[in-house]
Amino acid sequence: MTDNNFLSVSDLTLLIKGVLENKFSEVIFTAEISNFKRHFSSGHLYFTLKDDKSQIPAKMWKNSAMRLPFEPKDGMKVLVHGSIDVYIPHGSYSVIVSEMEHFGLGELLVKLEKLKQKLASEGLFDADRKKPLPEFPRRIGIVTSETGAVIQDFKRVAAKRYPVLEILLFHANVQGQGSVQNVCKAIAEANKPEYDLDLIVIARGGGSIEDLWTFNEESVVRAIAESELPVVSAIGHETDTTLVDYVSDLRAPTPSAAAELILPDKVDLLERLAQIESIIKTNVTGRVQNIKAVVESFSKSYILNRTKDVINDNKVKLDEISTELLERVNMKLLNTKNVIHNYEKILNSVSPESTLRRGFAIVEKDNNIVSKANKLVKDDKVVLKFYDDTRKAVIQ
């Protein structure tokens, strides 16, 4: 048994390609355009043609696209002329569009517009319903798919801007079967007091209008309207707008933009802290300097200086007094000396010596002073005391 006995995948694909492309070499059908993209350099158009049950990928080459009388847009209903093309490497088929006619707004968008007006008339989109967002969220809930890139993007921005944040992830399928119920339940769950959240972010990455359709569903819009916590929507890219964006309290163009809008920036906060620090320091330094100035001015005041003067005056006085006292003592001493000197003089003047100097002499007999002449008789031996010396004499 060799491979040659059987068809290969490419043989089969080639057969299918032959059958399909022959059978559907020219098809005309109505469809709605979605996921429309114009290749930026080649100018070929890539989009999906769909109705409410089915969809086919479509391409329109540049030379055909140039003849289009209108600019195709998502949601447009069109009449398509084209052929089926099978792409062998993928085994996939698509429509090569040769011509396209505009059929007016797609039914989907008409329905959407009706729903939007109904909800608006109920006041669900009113500005006065919008709840304010906290300046510094502590804990937030995010309703999104746990597997998508959205939560990673959000985490990255949040960690950089405001790392003190706590995030609770409420997983919900954000596309396809069950997504509407998932999202509604997640919003209700996040509102439970036990989670103690400050706000809810509902996020989903970019996609076609069909991919984002969950966020145009009435029950999702109502679930957000009933939320007690503020809700921030971040659905798709900047150009995508869903009804959820109208009902939410804040619309962010993308999930990472949501993180930027709701979270303060660490860099700004650190700068503000530095400013506050300098204000507090300047303020207190200023006050302390004021107090210093008051103390200084007081120290220069008259009262204090008067006291100082009194003290200084007294010091001088004390010096003066002590000097005077000393002088008086000295004077007294001097006087006393003089008195003594005078007494000495007087004493000297009354002593016999001075009399003797004047030529008198003292007569002594047997060591007694002889004061009368009749006390002496002939041959008495006497001593004559002169001022300078003594002499012996005999009375005749």
Binding site: F136, R138, L168, L169, N182, I280
Partner: protein
């Protein structure tokens, strides 16, 4: 709203308190007593430190909630 009592360990609490202190300093700087001024000063610098530490040291916390809506 599912607001519980004020969480004194949160950044929000410290930062709000700091702003209040700063406002009171700016508004009645001449009326506050020196004691109060010094109290505000010390408290303010402490709060600045708390806020800075929180911002610089915190790591983003993320928790997955397994509610019945998880598939």
């Amino acid at each position: 709203m599912a607001k519980t009592k004020e969480d004194t360990t949160s950044f929000e609490y410290s930062f709000t308190k700091l702003q209040q202190i700063m406002e009171s300093l700016e508004e009645n700087s001449d009326e506050t007593s020196l004691d109060e001024l010094i109290k505000h000063y010390q408290e303010g610098l402490q709060l600045i430190k708390t806020c800075r530490d929180k911002l610089n040291d915190a790591e983003l916390k993320i928790e997955k909630i397994n509610s019945e809506n998880s598939k």
